[in-house]
Each structure stands twice: as C-alpha cells, then as structure tokens.
Amino acid sequence: MGEIFVTAMTNMFPQAGHFALAVGGSSNFFEYAVSISPRLFEGLKMTIAMTVCSLILGILVGLLSCFCSISKSFILNKLSGAYLSIIRGTPLMVQATFIYFGLSAALNMPITSFTASIIVLMLNSGAYLSEIFRSGISAINKGQMEAARSLGLPHGVAMRKIILPQAFRIVIPSVTNQFIITLKDTSILSVIGVAEMMRQSQQLIANNFRAFETYAIVAVWYYVLVIILTKLFKLLERRLAN
C-alpha cells in the first residue's frame, strides 16, 4: 500500500524526485521523506514539549500580568505595562540569544538551551496572553460584576466565579491563535541549539545538502501539527459552548 502511494506520488510530481537526484540524493522525495521521519519525530517531541511547557507557564505569567494591568495599583499597572512593551518591542530571536548567551554569561550561571527557550517562550507568550485575557475580561458586561457584588460576593469571588468563567470562553479562539504562534516560534529557538524540528532538519541538511526537500518536508510537518491543534481547540470550544 505504501509503495503504491509512493509510486503514485512520484508519477504525479516527477520533478521532485529529479530534483532530489540533482542535489545528490540517492532516494526520491517520498522515500526520503519517510527515511528522515524518525529524526523529525525526535524533533517533533521536543517542539511539542517546548510548546506545552512554555504555554502552561505562559498562561500563568499572562494571568499574573493581566491581573497586574487591571488592578488598582499604579505600580502594578506600570510593571505590567513595561513588561508588555519590552516583549512586544524586541524580536524573539534577540530575547533568546540575550538570555541564553548574554544573561547566562553575565550572571555566570550557565543554563541549558532548553531552559533558556522555555523562559523566552514563556515570557513571550505570557505578554500576548496577558493582553488577550485583559480584553476577554473587559468584554464581560459590567452589569455582571455589579450583580455579583450586589449579592454580597467579594470582588475576588465575583471574579473567580462570574467573570473569569465567561471570559475564558471568549478568549479560547485568541488563545488557540497564540498557541499556534508559540508552536511556530519554537523553530526560532534552533538558533540557540535546541534539538527541535527545525534544528533536526538543519542538521540533516548539513550532512546531505538536500535543503529543498528537507525544508519542504519539515514545513508539511509544522502545517499538519497546526491543523491538528486547530481542530482540537475547535472541539474544545464547541464542547464549552454547550
């Protein structure tokens, strides 16, 4: 079955195979795609681990920053504002290299590239999630808070039981979006040497020079991953809507 598929696809896209031969590959495109999949799978595990870890932490940081930004304290407002502005104002790659090479050297505290990448992605997604959460909370009609407070519920309880559950549903699409952005951003962390999918493909190319196919294949892997995630979140969204 697999063989038939490969033959069929080779017939449909003969130039892909030719190109592979032209750049020195010994197998055609689809055989090559299969042959590098264990390597990419190793990368995929790392990509997913990074995405999930940094997003869980990012959600916590985002919530914290969001509460700071809506609190009545002037200092907390400013703190959250400064954090958002720094993250938004600097490129992810600069943040990553700064923390991994710069900060660890300056503090004389060597950290692994994985730890550095989690910190960077956490801070990065946290900033954007903070804004998403804030807009979700402010989208709730202020009558909801008033009704809760008029019943004698303290502000914190009203927030937890009335406002946040409603805001949660509103922000799911935007959080999905941030999830996807963070997933794709993990590829940038290949610059500090985390062995995620992008890094794995770069190492393959360093050995076999099959850049066109390798990058095309890794693009498909990312694409499929994003599609699956989107579907999962849509499912979650629908479940919560009921």
Binding site: E146, R149, S150, L151, G152, P154, Q166
Partner: protein, 242 residues
C-alpha cells in the same frame, strides 16, 4: 423603625454633579417609588444605597450600618440589600437554579441542600419552578427578571432595591414582573423602586419621591404627588408621562 437614612448625599462624576443634596428616610415595610425625568439622578441615588456608586459626600445608614464608615464591611451589608437591575444581569454560564444558589452557598448563609430548597421555593413563588435547570439565555425578558428577583431574595434581604426593573421588557411582559413586586410589597418587604411605571407607583407605593436635577423636588403619598402635585416641575413631568 428606620431602615434607610440618607443625609446630605452628594455624588459627582468628575465635574458633573449628579446628586446635589439628597435627604431621605425609608421606614421598615415601606415601598418608596423614585420617579423623575432621565438624568435626574434617581438611578445613581439608588446605586449609592448599596454603594455600587461611591458617594462623594454625605451619610447613608442602612439597617443601622454606616455605609460611609471606613470600617464597614460592605459585602456583609450588601447581603441584606437585594438589588434588581434593568438589564437583569443573570449569570449566563450558570443555570437558573445555580444563579439563585450561588450567593447563599458562597456566603455560607445556607448549606447546598438548604439553598436548593430555598431556590426552588422562590422559583415556585415567581412561577418558574419548571425552569430551574435551564440557562438564562432560553428565558424571555420577563422570566429572566423574575429569576433575578428570586436570586436577590435568596439572600433573605431586609431591603430590596429595584432599578427600572421593567424598562428593558417588552410591554406584554411588564405585568408579570410587576405582579411579583406587588406580592413582595404586600408581604411587607421594604422596597425602593426606580420606575417609569406610574400605574405601579400609584397602586403600590406608600410614598412617591419625585427627583429632578439631583434634588428631591417633591415627595408624598401617591394621592398627593399624582393627584395634587405642588411643584411646577412635578406638574410638568406628570403632564408628560400620564
């Protein structure tokens, strides 16, 4: 016995003086209707009575609690002041029953079982027992407002505040809400009602208070205010609405 005592109440929004000098008392079991043109400050005044609006100056005593004292626990005081809003403000993510049970259980007034029993009794009273398990979105405006009344009553308040409870309703649903309020008045509940329903005020109120321009311009029994208004502004207003 005096339930509500207001002296020299002032409320500014920025440079706009909404309440200029309000003095009023409400006795136990009394039904007071606040009437007046829009912008006269009657809703703001009502919202000061449970401190949804922070008064700029003045004295407010509710149930012997001084609302303006820094040491007062506003949440504790609010437990005894029910409020019904123009826009109902039911919690859309909770079922009708959960809407009513939330505050009594959270504030430890009742156990879950007691609260459920109480909620069902109240729903029966407002004629919506069969709607206990549905969500607010599936109810008509009149039904939502009756649930909102039941929710406020679940805390067994001494005083009920109504902020234009029928203004957002389709005309054919006004009657069912007013009916519930009449019943409540007949049972001796102390009520302060901001309303445009002059028929209701005339029939149910013990006292009608006409507000204009941030002052109480005239007050008296419905017969006095509707039948023989003394003030020119009261006369103008009543000529327009009756």
């Amino acid at each position: 016995m005096i339930k509500v005592k207001v002296e020299n109440l002032k409320k500014n929004f920025g440079s706009l003086e909404v309440l200029k000098d309000i003095n009023m008392e409400v006795k136990e079991g009394e039904v007071v209707c606040l009437i007046g043109p829009s912008g006269s400050g009657k809703s703001t005044f009502l919202r000061c009575l449970n401190k949804l609006e922070e008064p700029t100056a003045g004295v407010i005593i509710v149930d012997d609690y001084d609302l303006m004292a820094k040491t007062s626990d506003i949440n504790k005081i609010r437990e005894n002041i029910g409020m019904v809003f123009q826009q109902f403000n039911l919690f859309p993510h909770l079922s009708v029953l959960q809407n009513i049970m939330l505050a009594p259980v959270d504030r430890k007034r009742m156990t879950k079982e007691q609260a459920e029993e109480k909620a069902k009794k109240l729903l029966d009273r407002v004629g919506l027992l069969e709607k206990a398990d549905v969500y607010p979105a599936s109810l008509s405006g009149g039904q939502q407002q009756r649930v909102a009344i039941a929710r406020a009553l679940a805390m067994e308040p001494d005083i009920m505040l109504f902020d234009e409870p029928t203004s957002a309703l389709d005309p054919e649903m006004v009657g069912e809400v007013l009916e519930v309020m009449k019943q409540l008045a007949a049972e001796g509940m102390t009520m302060v009602v901001v309303t445009h329903e002059m028929g209701f005020a005339r029939e149910v109120a013990d006292r009608v208070v006409f507000m204009d321009g941030g002052y109480i311009v005239e007050e008296g029994t419905p017969e006095e205010v509707f039948g023989n208004p003394q003030n020119k502004r009261t006369q103008d207003f009543l000529n327009k609405v009756l």
